[in-house]
Amino acid sequence: MVDSILPYIILAMILFSIGFLGVIARKNIFIVYMSIELMLNSVNIIFVSLGRYNESMQPQVIAMIIIAIAAAEAAVFLSLITVLFRRKKSLNSDIFNVLRQKSVTHE
């Protein structure tokens, strides 16, 4: 098992599937956000295991860049959640539909 890359890929794919299911099955917007974080992490696992396989350090740098992007995403997403919760008093992602056409008024 140490001699193969496959267990790491299987672990990463299981975690990616869990994150994807969290995005499509949950309505709580915090859990949607954390599922996206989990998907980014599983992609990191694939990058780093391929880097170990080829004995190259470039995928580790890519994984580091992905972590930095996740930090930027965390700042924007959490402030967005705060604004939406302040306005709607709910965490349900179905009610965030202010861009829908039904609220357009023709003058």
């Binding site: 890359i5 859990i31 780093v48 740098v61 972590i67 930090a71 349900n92």
Partner: protein
């Protein structure tokens, strides 16, 4: 030995991920995501990336998810603010079955790679020095772009969180 550690770490990672999408309260989800991320940090250490292991523990579990926990506590979420999710478990089960062919395709693609020893390399592979050399020699432009991205995210977060006008 590495096999046993890997199995234990992946067990905790999968349990943490499943707990994250199954708990109803977001605070329990964030705590189980911390378990999952720390276990994934251990997997990074097994893949001879000690610097990424450190970054994962300090930055991901220590900073980002702690920020999420702070926001959850700061918002003071009551149980009637939470969405009503009657179809959570059936959607997860059906979606899990539907995702099986996709996963099998990816794993079949990766199984054509021939086996190589994957033991932990010492001698500076993944250490801070080698990592910094790699980053500042070959990845300097992405590094600078990341700094601009973080600045834009900072300004964006401040703009979102400004005090709104009275009609807001």
């Amino acid at each position: 030995m590495i096999d046993i550690i890997f199995i234990i770490l992946s067990f905790f990672a999968i349990i943490g991920g499943l707990g994250m999408i199954l708990f109803a309260q977001p605070i329990y989800s964030a705590l189980s995501l911390i378990v999952c991320l720390v276990a994934l940090g251990g997997v990074f250490a097994l893949l001879s990336a000690p610097f990424l292991f450190m970054v994962q523990i300090i930055l991901y579990a220590g900073a980002i998810i702690t920020l999420v926990l702070f926001i959850i506590m700061f918002l003071n979420v009551k149980s009637d603010n939470l969405p009503n999710e009657p179809y959570k478990i059936p959607t997860i089960l059906v979606g899990g079955i539907l995702l099986v062919p996709f996963n099998l395709l990816i794993i079949k693609g990766f199984s054509t790679l021939e086996d190589k020893p994957m033991h932990i390399i010492g001698e500076g592979f993944g250490s801070i020095k080698g990592f910094g050399m790699e980053l500042f020699r070959n990845w300097l432009v992405p590094f600078e772009l990341i700094s601009i991205l973080l600045l834009v995210a900072l300004v964006g977060a401040v703009v979102y969180l400004r005090k709104e006008k009275s009609d807001g």
